[in-house]
């Protein structure tokens, strides 16, 4: 078998700031939140800043550049600093990037983190212009390519994912009740956690009474708008065994996607055969190849849930159910903690715990592998984490309790 990253590295520390509703983390700065999360993760790992020699990032997660971060935090020597291209699609993949840095010998102790503060910039209108008295000012400046989308009024990710969801409903008969089950099961998980921003019960009546935002997505199909930071620390597998917590071995990882998936929702020209998908299928195939296992081996799935239908589509694309059957699959209770065949987003996800662009999913996977999760899956030995269905790259990582035999 060819050389791969399998089991070469492990996540040994996780840390987070409190999670805040949008804007409530002020007067802290995003950079400060990043530092606090890293210190918490290092403390959890039994390590210090003196040990850190790498940063493996995605979507500008530091809230600034590595140069200033290393200077401010006093990192002795930076031996690896890299960031996956794209946005939230790289969340899980940033841990894979850390494992790659370690396996290649470029660094020994690598931090991945996301710090988010939405006080000034609401992602819900990422692609929207902001009108000013004198002319127009844009949150996202118009581009030659964006000109083929934005004049239709598609200015927020939720609207764009609603378009994909309509196609999925048309092709396969997926229903709003299925999306509701994602929102409600995720809320049930969040309700038992003190860290969750949303802890009130969510009923089917509440769901259908909620305001429609972009048909078929209503308020509860959208993730939260949050501030906060989450960091994780990755080291080599041998070193991991000497640290305080049981290691969460990086069993496998992959990122990328088909080239013609491309800009995805900000393009709408994706190939017919994967338009109504999460874009994850080629990434999933390579993940299972590296792992030497499949969806049937996974104990808990932390699936990036910026919008509830993307949980359904990822369940299909990772092979938990056939393509087109994701709706009935969740409708039958398969993703419920305790009773389902594959518990999903046991931490409450982006939908109900907090939206830190997917890093809460990595943290939860580590806690599940350690056996310390609030909503622990009994005997969890293999946890799947995915990054956001979005433009290329999407990504995923499999964390394991033991090295494979």
């Amino acid at each position: 078998m060819s050389e791969t990253l399998r089991d070469k590295a492990a996540v040994v520390g996780v840390g987070a700031t409190p999670y805040y509703k949008r804007g409530r983390s002020l007067p802290q700065t995003p950079f400060e939140l990043a530092g606090k999360a890293m210190l918490a993760a290092l403390d959890d790992a039994g390590l210090t800043v003196e040990d850190v020699d790498g940063l493996a990032l995605y979507s500008f997660g530091l809230g600034g550049d590595t140069s200033l971060f290393a200077q401010v935090m006093g990192i002795p020597e930076v031996r690896f600093t890299a960031m996956l291209t794209g946005g939230g699609g790289g969340a899980a993949g940033s841990v894979g990037l850390a494992a790659a840095a370690i396996a290649s010998g470029m660094a020994t102790c690598v931090v991945s983190l996301m710090s988010l503060q939405q006080a000034a910039n609401r992602f819900g209108a990422s692609f929207a212009p902001k009108k000013r008295a004198a002319g127009a000012q844009y949150a996202a400046p118009p581009t030659p390519e964006g000109n083929f989308i934005q004049p239709a009024g598609l200015v927020g990710p939720g609207q764009m994912f609603a378009v994909l969801t309509q196609r999925h409903m048309h092709l396969y008969g997926t229903k709003r009740e299925h999306l509701a089950e994602v929102a409600i099961s995720t809320r049930e998980n969040a309700r038992r956690r003190e860290t969750s921003i949303m802890r009130d019960e969510l009923t089917l009546d509440d769901y259908f009474a909620a305001r429609m935002i972009a048909d078929p997505l209503c308020l509860f199909d959208f993730c939260l708008e949050c501030d906060g930071a989450v960091a994780v620390v990755t080291v080599g597998a041998d070193r991991a065994r000497d640290l305080p917590h049981p290691p969460a071995y990086v069993r496998a990882t992959a990122h990328g996607g088909h080239g013609r998936w491309g800009q995805a929702i900000t393009w709408m020209g994706m190939p017919e055969e994967e338009f109504a998908s999460s874009g994850h299928r080629p990434v999933a195939r390579r993940l299972w190849e590296m792992a030497g296992s499949g969806p049937e081996d996974v104990d808990v799935a932390l699936l990036y849930d910026h919008f509830s239908p993307m949980v359904v589509l990822q369940l299909e694309d990772y092979g938990f159910c056939p393509v087109g059957e994701g709706g009935p699959f969740v409708g039958d209770g398969n993703i419920r903690w305790k009773t389902g065949t594959i518990p999903v987003n046991t931490h409450g996800g982006n939908l109900s715990e907090a939206y830190i662009i997917g890093m809460t999913h990595v943290k939860e996977a580590v806690e599940q592998i350690r056996g310390t999760a609030v909503n622990q899956v009994d005997g969890a030995a293999l946890a799947l984490v995915t990054g956001g269905p979005a433009s290329i790259p999407t990504s995923s990582v499999l964390l394991a309790k033991d090295v494979s035999s």
């Binding site: 212009p129 004049p151 609207q159 196609r167 048309h170 935002i213 972009a214 048909d215």
Partner: protein
Amino acid sequence: MTTAQLPPAELIHLVPDVFTRPFWEAAAAHRLVVPKCTTCGTFRLPPSAFCFRCRAQEVEWVEQDGRGSVYAFTVVHHPVLPDFADSVPYVPIVVELPGTNGCRLVGALQDVDIEDVRIGMDVELVWRDVRDGETVPTFRPAVRRSS
């Protein structure tokens, strides 16, 4: 019955580059043209520097009649920004253009009850003059002609 509106014109700003300019110049003259690779015959949208199939650069601009069918859509009910408050509901649709190897054009659908929008429905292009020299595609349900 709720009739679809259009998103606010004042928020639309075209910034053509060398590859998209012929499309928008034709649009301003109320003509739909789609670039076709002169080497391998593949259409592409948006217009771009290379053919994604053969990587050649030269194109011919082929005029289309603007008829197609709804491939996917959403009905936007909630304004994400206050500037959209007077424009909801509006209906962004993705339209597949026949005979263009699957090229899709995105625009707002008008002259329609939002309850009647369906994937597969036939639509036709309506040019929307945003301001002098800037025109964008929108759509309306196709008018059935007896033939």
